[in-house]
């Protein structure tokens, strides 16, 4: 639309009254607003923040938290080391070393010898989850992810599988069971960091 188009509606800034231009009444009105908030929190307990860690926040069912590596019925990692998740990862935080699968695993050619995710670099976008053809990697509802060192935040295969063990009952694998009903309940999970 051109600047001189007849249908173009021009908005005029509201004309300031004398009180507006003098500032002080407006300042007083502003002070009243902040004063109400200060009074509300100080004397009427109106703070809106969650007092973590005493009160734990339960995230929504679609929350993307810590990763887990899913296991199949025989307890083996479902991952087939196809590298699709590592390729899809925009933060390059997934590091997989694939190896030929043992002969006793006839259903696949490869398995991950090591599977490491740097949780500090991860941006929790869920692209790995989307990319995985066998639903081996999933993001759980765990959000309590703090550590005392950088090393502690690098999750290897054992740790990722243990996250699966810890969250299996609370969050069934997304594609092997029917999706949870409309009431999609979530529950509080323990931190994966011991």
């Amino acid at each position: 639309m051109r600047a001189d188009h007849p249908k173009l509606k021009k908005l005029e800034p509201p004309k300031l009254t004398l009180a507006d231009r003098f500032f002080l009444p407006q300042v007083a009105a502003g002070l009243l607003v902040t004063g109400r908030h200060i009074f509300g929190v100080a004397f009427q307990d109106k703070a809106i923040t969650v007092q973590y860690p005493e009160v734990q926040h339960v995230p929504s069912p679609v929350y993307r938290g810590v990763h887990r590596l899913n296991k199949d019925e025989e307890g083996r990692p479902k991952c087939v080391a196809c590298m699709l998740c590592a390729t899809a990862c925009p933060a390059h935080c997934i590091d997989i070393v694939g190896a030929t699968a043992p002969e006793t695993w006839p259903d696949r050619e490869k398995y991950p010898e090591s599977f490491v995710i740097d949780e500090l670099r991860c941006i929790y976008c869920g692209m790995c989850e989307e990319a995985c053809p066998v639903e081996a990697i999933e993001l759980t509802g765990l959000y309590d992810l703090t550590g005392l060192s950088r090393e502690e935040m690098i999750f290897d295969k054992t740790k990722l599988l243990s996250v699966f063990d810890a969250t299996r009952d609370a969050e069934p694998m997304k594609y092997t069971t029917p999706p949870p009903g409309p009431s999609g309940q979530t529950q509080l999970l323990d931190s994966p960091i011991a």
Binding site: G30, L31, I38, A47
Partner: protein, 347 residues
């Protein structure tokens, strides 16, 4: 000899108390900030030892300031870089010398003032207070960093601009009381009426320029984290930054004292306290009254901080040069005329 010991003791007590007060004011400030934003704020430090309200938070803050890595960038002009925070904090502290924090007079047992009866008291406070601009500009210059330098230039322009309405706004009160000595001004208010009632315009001008002088919001352009990544103290860390911070807070305390002393009657409480009471108990009550008033002013300054957004730089300059200085002049001339008329015809 006894006098010297007394003065040294007084200096030590005032410095210690003011530093401790600053530490706890930072806690109060954080609490007020949190409340204004519907948060709770610091409430944990000390809870392990059964100390409520995070009263150990200032200790934790102080320890952090002292123990943090003190980074001195390679490209700074080292002597000036180190000198700047010292100037900032010294300028803020020596202003306290003439601020009466309780009743002062020849018939008092204790004179609650480090240097009593300085008859140019208020001039001294302003002279010393404006030295703070040296700290700011040296910090900005010595940092050898564009952001720091721009921040320093902006803040020195601001500090100098607001010096004028600040100085002129109190002249009305000085004319009425007939003295530059702060305790005489309080005495006048004690005998007549609080300054804010005879000089309402002077009070508003003084209070607004005091905000600018102490670099508090809405005039905190010297820091302006968003545009200047911290302004003049961008390159300062650990205790050097802490000294700027302490200096700034001491300024807030000084300004609050001046506000109370010039416009809210100092230690005066109408119908309860007056200048004739000289005993020790009444002196302590007066100190308490003054402290409560100062505390309320400081709380109000914190409250303002979370109410008003920061000025744009040209608006800031406009306010000083186009509104406040003319208004201060008008106020000064009008007061002078009225005082002269009263002196001529009624007294």
């Amino acid at each position: 000899m006894l006098l010297v010991i007394g003065i040294v003791l007084k200096i030590l007590i005032v410095v210690a108390i003011s530093q401790g007060t600053v530490a706890y004011l930072i806690l109060v400030e954080r609490k007020v900030a949190a409340y204004a934003q519907d948060r709770i704020g610091p409430n944990r430090a000390g809870s392990e030892f059964g100390i409520p309200f995070a009263l150990l938070q200032p200790l934790a803050d102080g320890a952090k300031m002292l123990l943090k890595e003190d980074v001195v960038p390679k490209y700074v002009t080292k002597p000036l870089y180190i000198l700047a925070p010292w100037i900032a904090i010294t300028a803020a502290m020596i202003g306290f010398a003439v601020v009466p924090f309780g009743p002062v007079g020849p018939d008092q047992i204790i004179n609650f003032q480090i240097a009593p009866n300085v008859n140019i008291g208020i001039l001294y406070v302003f002279a010393v207070g404006s030295l703070a601009v040296y700290g700011v500009i040296l910090a900005g210059w010595a940092s050898n960093n564009k952001y720091a330098f721009i921040g320093a230039l902006r803040s020195s322009a601001q500090l100098i601009s607001y010096e004028m309405p600040l100085g002129m706004s109190i002249l009305g009160m000085v004319l009425i009381a007939g003295s530059l000595d702060l305790s005489t001004i309080v005495d006048w208010q004690d005998r007549h009426v609080w300054g804010v009632f005879v000089q309402p315009l002077g009070f508003i001008l003084f209070f607004v320029s005091a905000f600018a002088e102490t670099n508090r919001l809405p005039f905190d352009l010297p820091e302006s984290e968003q545009e200047l990544v911290g302004g003049f103290h961008t390159e300062y860390s650990a205790m050097k930054f802490g000294m700027f911070f302490l200096g700034e807070y001491l300024h807030v305390i000084t300004v609050s004292y001046l506000t109370v002393i010039l416009f809210f009657g100092g230690w005066d409480l109408p119908y309860f306290l007056d200048a004739e009471q000289t005993g020790l108990i009444s002196a302590i009550v007066k100190v308490g009254v003054l402290l409560i008033k100062v505390g309320l002013v400081i709380l109000f300054i914190m409250w303002i901080r979370w109410t008003l957004p920061r000025f744009r730089y040209d608006q800031l300059m406009d306010l000083a040069w186009k509104s406040m200085i003319p208004l201060a002049l008008v106020n000064l001339v009008a007061t002078a005329a009225i005082v002269q008329l009263i002196r001529t015809y009624w007294v």
